[in-house]
Symmetry: D2
Subunit: 340 residues, 4 copies
Amino acid sequence: MPVRARDLGLAWGKRPTGPRNAITDVPGVLVGHRTLRKGDSIRTGVTAILPHGDNLFHGKVPAAVHVLNGFGKSIGLVQVEELGELETPILLTNTFSVAACAETLIRRAFTEEPRIGRETSTVNPVVMECNDGFLNDIQALAVTPADAAAAIGAAGEEFASGAVGAGTGMSCYGLKGGIGTASRRLKFDGTRFHLGALVLANFGRAGELRLPDGRQVPASASEDTPERGSVIVVIATDVPLESRQLRRVATRAGAGIAWTGSSWGHGSGDIFLAFSTAQRLPHDPSAHILPRQSLAEARLDRLFEAAAEATAEAVIDAMAAAETTTGFQGHRRQGLREII
Amino acid sequence: MPVRARDLGLAWGKRPTGPRNAITDVPGVLVGHRTLRKGDSIRTGVTAILPHGDNLFHGKVPAAVHVLNGFGKSIGLVQVEELGELETPILLTNTFSVAACAETLIRRAFTEEPRIGRETSTVNPVVMECNDGFLNDIQALAVTPADAAAAIGAAGEEFASGAVGAGTGMSCYGLKGGIGTASRRLKFDGTRFHLGALVLANFGRAGELRLPDGRQVPASASEDTPERGSVIVVIATDVPLESRQLRRVATRAGAGIAWTGSSWGHGSGDIFLAFSTAQRLPHDPSAHILPRQSLAEARLDRLFEAAAEATAEAVIDAMAAAETTTGFQGHRRQGLREII
Amino acid sequence: MPVRARDLGLAWGKRPTGPRNAITDVPGVLVGHRTLRKGDSIRTGVTAILPHGDNLFHGKVPAAVHVLNGFGKSIGLVQVEELGELETPILLTNTFSVAACAETLIRRAFTEEPRIGRETSTVNPVVMECNDGFLNDIQALAVTPADAAAAIGAAGEEFASGAVGAGTGMSCYGLKGGIGTASRRLKFDGTRFHLGALVLANFGRAGELRLPDGRQVPASASEDTPERGSVIVVIATDVPLESRQLRRVATRAGAGIAWTGSSWGHGSGDIFLAFSTAQRLPHDPSAHILPRQSLAEARLDRLFEAAAEATAEAVIDAMAAAETTTGFQGHRRQGLREII
Amino acid sequence: MPVRARDLGLAWGKRPTGPRNAITDVPGVLVGHRTLRKGDSIRTGVTAILPHGDNLFHGKVPAAVHVLNGFGKSIGLVQVEELGELETPILLTNTFSVAACAETLIRRAFTEEPRIGRETSTVNPVVMECNDGFLNDIQALAVTPADAAAAIGAAGEEFASGAVGAGTGMSCYGLKGGIGTASRRLKFDGTRFHLGALVLANFGRAGELRLPDGRQVPASASEDTPERGSVIVVIATDVPLESRQLRRVATRAGAGIAWTGSSWGHGSGDIFLAFSTAQRLPHDPSAHILPRQSLAEARLDRLFEAAAEATAEAVIDAMAAAETTTGFQGHRRQGLREII
């Protein structure tokens, strides 16, 4: 069991959490990892987030993207912005393994719908990334399409945080980063809902980290390198939202990132994607005009707070779980627990 | 009765029109003008478009904006982009009369809801503009808040096109421009719908105009001035669309503008706003989660064609109706009918 | 002399400040206020920021905008985004006085260039706003064009912070808000530069405020109203930047706002504008291809930190200076100094 | 020698062309193809556009993107939008071969700079695509990284148009599409410049095509399928432009596309990228503040016209050159020359 942020007394905000305090508190959402640790130099992997376990090409979900700082090499965001929907799992990996992961999503979609690219439209793979080149030999392009498939295959409601999956080789505030998660509980019209965040934390300069209790974590060493990281935040909710509203929710991940001390460095690809599981969008709808639901706009404030809180806590959660790691060229990142 | 584009045999596209071939074919939409012609130099006015005749602050409509070229001084677009809704009439006027028109929209909203800015949120006036400074003494700031109120007060299903309202002093392709309109009929799930466009046409260089039959209209004189015009397109439909979809529809006004010969000049504020009357968004909803409808995404193609066709035809419609006009400093713009 | 944030020991970040710790540390930048306090209910005003004291229409400056949350009614942003330049002073005021301020900027430009809208292009007034309707009778539309002119006329290097100018009636985190400022010193290629921020602080819910030392300021009362505020941040620098770079700098104001505790509420118009005074863009350039300078992209990190630090400190600066104010309908906002 | 649009009397606009009437009229720009025709079903390939033949990672060029309709699966656009620069060749290919092409660009960059992802930042591969699944067995993923490398290796000033490279299996207006090009000559400050366009034309419904002389080309058959194509336009110029200006130029490709009859279909990924070769941006600049040049903004009008003209003509150029092609499942697209 990974150590969680709350095990260290590091909770962010006052809203109640879901039962797992994880993105999988949103019913149906699944997360899986494929972790690659080989020899002295491979410290990387893939993390898969599935909005649901069914056929995604035929049960698309509303989605939106906010690019806070576009120093990044993702694939798939242009179409999410235009159509406001997601039709594959989301894969997270290192910067140079986007291609291998995209290939897996494309081939997997062929099995969901053999007409793709022929009698019907093509499929839009979504892969986002951070640069783990400090701890991982990133030029080795170690991730294969089979690794991406393994991450999807491993997806479940329980998943590890810390130096696992795409987070295996990541760094955060000069310390060991990785995968973290958190969730918040909400109530609308008397019904219980959840919002969950999953963060691939690989950003921030040493000495900038600020904990929820106000403490600033000093740099452990002469960590004066410019930021060449990134941070990816995936937000899931079962509240019915249209894609314009999801974009507004995704934007608030930036507040959560800032709360942890960052001023959003130049060299960081800070990209946030939000989706709602409340409604599925059929690929071949049976009618032209479709019933939908959406939250009254002014009620978004609660989701904004939940998104910022869950994002900030998920960053700390990644660092709480991540063990000190040594990798490529003997580079080393300390785990947060060693110094606080 | 104004001369219409189709009276001159100038129809664009093959889709059938609505009964009036006007934006007011969309049920509930109303248009009104206030035309100012004073002495030798005032040739300007205001045109009002109302999504419906009821209280707009309490019955907002989904809306979206596409800024094709932002050399323009509108007010209200930022909030439409964020919230995806319209809560006042849309006013069109000359560049320096935006302030007078905005004041009228604000004061009018106070009567719709006295709590505005106090116990509830403020109101977002939407005013768009073109520069009529060739025919009109634009520095005179001739439009008053009362003129703006008069345009709203005059709104009805029947309205004039040509050199009226905000179009009184406008120029287009070196000829007389103004207000034009067109509509297209659509069918979804066996039900009839409409899409209508209203254009404030004040763009294009002499010699660039291309008619639907392929004819290119030569420059009538040494009209070599750089483009300092603009074009505003308002698109209405009763098809249920969310604001992201409306933005996609609004974008296609740009194709219609290009069909008439333009390459979208640097000095032109080319701004398009689309709204849907199918659903009203209450200011104080009685529940948190609200039922909505939206068109299946792939069906948008028909609306895209309708929007491009109606926009292109509305440009020609404005020119077909507009009489030759002489104004400020003796400047003169010929009506299209004089030269074709 | 207003009380400054640093007088209370509330500095943000480690970068050195400029000599005044104000936006006017950027050479040439001028700020002026017009404060309206009349009877029991008028608590409003205008604040003017001038990039330089010369003819702005003929000496435009590179500029850019970031709309973090577009629940706002500014004028002029569309053209700044398209052309990347500013050609009037920036005026800040209350939501319903944008029109009066815009009129003043337009008329003032006619005196700078009588050909405007006639032989040359029109002018783009930039006015941004927040809702001061809690302390001010905002429906009175108390600001006149003459008030806007007075704010411009009062512009100088020394200016007050707190409940003055546009900040007179503003609220922040349930306490008294207003105008605040801060600056940071930078060095590039051995030369000294500055970045300064001016904030119109009118955002945040009671109980959310976080001070630079990590303290959280509790709500002083049952301040449970939804956020209907806004925050405007203007950033000036004499570092040569192109407008794309200025947009990146402006974006970091959002980090500064988040540092003070906000999750960027739904009902808040959070709009940031940045300009550079390093180069002037002539309206009628004498050549087609013009020499320019810009900062090497990777050096922006220092400006990002400076922008976030100066913004966060300017928020606290506004609250440090603002006195407890009573206004419309007896509403009252406490000054920060009364409770910390 | 391919048949060119002008060989058929199909020129667009009045501006003079460059000597080749091709994108390679911009000095330094190189284009190469790798064409895959295998058996009955593989009709695809790769086209490479190099801004110059030197080390691109160390000699980046200013660039910008305009996404007219984001139904597309490109990689690399997010970073171009943020940083305004291009640091690899541009590769065009079919929708599902983006990953293979991206891998080649990444590995090629390692040889340009071995520190990538380690001691310096990562590299941003730019690959854009259209769906050739009507004529090509797109699910075969036939393009390999070696094919992508071959396209780059083949780059030169002379290159074929029509059904070659990425255009091998593309369709346009129900006829055979492919690669087309055109250029326009410009003069600023007495110096000669060029703007060139290269189009991957795979869009439009049968019956919509409009030729420059106004003729409408009827559908050759019952081509009633919805648009599932795309169009990619790459614009090069040696006029010095900053990335904001390049974005404005790229936008005008949309006018050129509309001139040929399209209303920009829902299912089409219409993406335009423009770059300027006038200045190179070093990866490791020797100073913080760098000299730059840019065109006076109002002079952009000539580039806008040139971009629209060259784009429209390049579409016709692709169709003029493309031979009738039979491919996957016996599908067949006629060449334009067979029917006009």
